[in-house]
Symmetry: C2
Subunit: 442 residues, 2 copies
């Protein structure tokens, strides 16, 4: 299964036709999210770095041509014009970690039409999904209000690749670690995790299990205390930690029940045993709503492990994103049918301090003091700079969140900022619409 | 990124400890879904074949050991006991395509404890996600009531791997094709797709676009008719098809607006042009609810293309699944805390015609006329038979759906069947619970 054939068939049928018709002029496609899902005050741009990796590698090889021919029931010779086609276009994009809003391009591709078309599906599957998950994870970071978060989502994500991305996106918005070993080691982020209920159950009792674990792991340990009776489990954990002289860096984990109440009771038991530096980790179907509630209630939870609901962006598992042709061969284009009207022409997003963003034409003058969000990240099919680091992306995320109005940061019922359209883009949209309507009438 | 290290770190810390403590006796883990999500009358067992592939390949290599050591900040020598560890256990499982209900094991693994533990995360990420998506796709098949469905989900799934699985799972429950070229060619299922709005927009007008497409594609073509004005688009498509003498196998596609009304109007225009054999394909954020509504309203839509909402199982993107230790070294075990109590011991599910399933102990006598669902699919780490085919799975799905009560098949507010517990399993659960409660007290 190659990356090149991991595409919708229609990209291939269209590219074949463009080549046959001699339509190789530059085309600009704009990738944007039409509307934000409910309970999203912002989105976190994500998925760009993996997308640029893909574009850098993109080249239609002989085996890809055979697969295309197979899918179309056509002789391979009919697909030969695609052989060797790579990506040598330009990409302007919002760097990972920045906050974006409805209608703002995350990325614009300008390349010969067949190339720009062929990469559509793969770019969408990277950017939509990763932006959805990063945005969910970001809300957890806001809810945790400075307390560390850890990604536990691998077992519930949509396959191993999605699990890897969830770990990466958690780190991108500031998670302290992930349970995913492969992601942790390859991305250089802390790996986290100690024991499951099965571990406790395989031993005759909790005390034997905790002691057995400590024998294998001489460093800091985390004991899971809710297998049978949580308060009893905490008491046993406290006794074992005390007897073994463990404390700093150690923790207990609560995975079920009333986490707030159990954390309070657990904290009392640990403190009474003098284990004031043993931390409490909470897990179990947590998301930003649950974390927010626990934090507001003052639960003495030191670390939140979020998994399932965050890794699949449970309440908004997809984004209403589009990859729209906005210009071909110098001519702005747009779609008119139904409610899905899109503004023509390549665009730029201008961010203004304390005010709504302006979506304008890519080369118009910025409003005074405004910062353009889209940067040229690829030219002639090559990156314009070094790949971005996770810490760069995280710094951008931190700065953007700090500047976000409280109404958009809210966990419940946030109000997203609504970008405005520049005069120039509005005028151009009106002209193109009129031109197309006249063409349809005639 | 290896499959072996695509795991939660705690599987590794536990396995290390099991090995150090000499705990290599056989353990049985049971993988099941605790509760069905709202609006699910059943689940479709899926993900077994990829899971068995994984288990067949599973072996901890030198590089894996290094990654584990890296993640744990331990010298590689501490992880050496894991080197070379493979999977040589037994797997009993429900074959793909069968319908299952809450609490019924999808799969049970019996293997030396460290092995059975290490494979947990990967098995969950395969089986949970694939069962969730297959179940959503199955509801679309029921809603379509015999009309063909096509998978268009790749651009919205959680990455390319998830997109591949969505295509496979669609085929497993009877979809007629997929837009995903890689999935289509590698699985031998029909590939589907012709043109996007961008194709139309790149030409001066719709007629030029349709003619251009037909020049490249001499076989059956599908024209997308809703770029500017849908009725006008249908009229142009009809004229071009008629002039070119194309008809059988050709189609028009509606992707926006009131699909039912537009299909009716489109059908009239096509029929008036004598193109009674040109089909109508509908797409655009469809799911089982939308398909059901269109079918019930008698919309003249011949093929439904479902994407986004089905590929991510939008209303139930994860399942509340668990991989629970149920027996270690011949001793049944269970967890007691909170509401998550699980019955101990390896299990079997007995299906009875027209009645609720019985969940019993794996080796108890079946109720009269009942069929055991779990089959031994792997023994000594090797498959007991040849890999299952998609058509075998589909045949099982078709038979199970045909036997399902209408109340569980319903699209809105279905009532899932509730399995009952056998007397023997209930008695064993009571005994084990009493034993553990006594142990906790002492």
């Amino acid at each position: 299964m190659s990356e090149v054939t991991t595409t919708d068939l229609y990209e291939v049928t269209m590219a074949m036709s463009y080549l046959r018709e001699g339509m190789r002029a530059p085309a600009t496609f704009s990738l944007f999210v039409r509307d934000l899902p409910p309970d999203r005050g912002f989105l976190v741009a994500a998925g760009l770095e993996p997308s640029l990796d893909y574009l850098s590698r993109f080249r239609v090889g002989p085996h890809d041509v055979e697969e295309f021919a197979d899918a179309l029931h056509r002789p391979a010779a009919d697909l030969e014009p695609l052989l060797g086609l790579g990506f040598d276009g330009q990409v302007r994009a919002v760097p990972e970690g920045r906050l974006v809003f409805a209608g703002e391009p995350l990325l614009e591709v300008t390349a010969p039409l067949p190339q720009a078309q062929l990469v559509e599906t793969y770019l969408l599957t990277q950017l939509c999904h990763q932006t959805a998950v990063a945005s969910k994870a970001a809300r957890c970071v806001i809810a945790a209000a400075g307390r560390p978060l850890v990604d536990f989502s691998l077992r519930r994500t949509h396959g191993p690749q999605a699990g890897f991305q969830a770990a990466r996106l958690g780190a991108l918005v500031g998670f302290a670690g992930t349970s995913n070993v492969a992601a942790a080691t390859s991305l250089g982020i802390p790996a986290s995790g100690t024991m499951a209920h099965s571990y406790i159950e395989a031993f005759p009792g909790e005390e034997e299990a905790f002691r057995g674990f400590a024998r294998t792991h001489p460093g800091p340990v985390t004991f899971l205390v809710d297998t049978y009776d949580t308060e009893g489990g905490v008491a046993i954990a406290a006794r074992v930690l005390k007897e073994l002289g463990r404390g700093p860096g150690c923790a207990i984990r609560l995975d079920s029940g009333d986490l707030g109440a159990l954390a309070r009771r657990g904290r009392d038991i640990l403190d009474a045993a003098g284990l004031t530096d043993v931390r409490i980790i909470a897990s179990g179907c947590l998301d930003e709503y649950a974390v927010d509630e626990l934090v507001r209630a003052g639960a003495p939870i030191d670390v939140y492990a979020v998994g399932t609901r965050v890794g699949v962006a449970a309440d908004a598992p997809y984004l209403d994103a589009a990859y729209k042709l906005v210009e071909y061969d110098g001519r702005p284009v747009m779609k008119l049918s139904s409610a899905k009207v899109t503004a023509p022409a390549p665009k730029q997003v201008f961010r203004r301090s304390g005010r709504a963003d302006v979506i304008g034409v890519w080369n118009e003058d910025p409003p005074p003091g405004a910062e353009p969000l889209l940067r040229t990240v690829m030219r002639g099919g090559s990156r314009t700079g070094r790949p971005d680091s996770l810490s760069d992306a995280r710094a951008r995320f931190d700065a953007d969140v700090a500047a976000l109005p409280a109404s958009a940061r809210r966990i419940h019922g946030p109000e997203p900022l609504r970008p405005v359209t520049s005069r120039r883009l509005a005028a151009m949209t009106a002209v193109v619409r009129r031109r197309i309507e006249e063409e349809i009438r005639t």
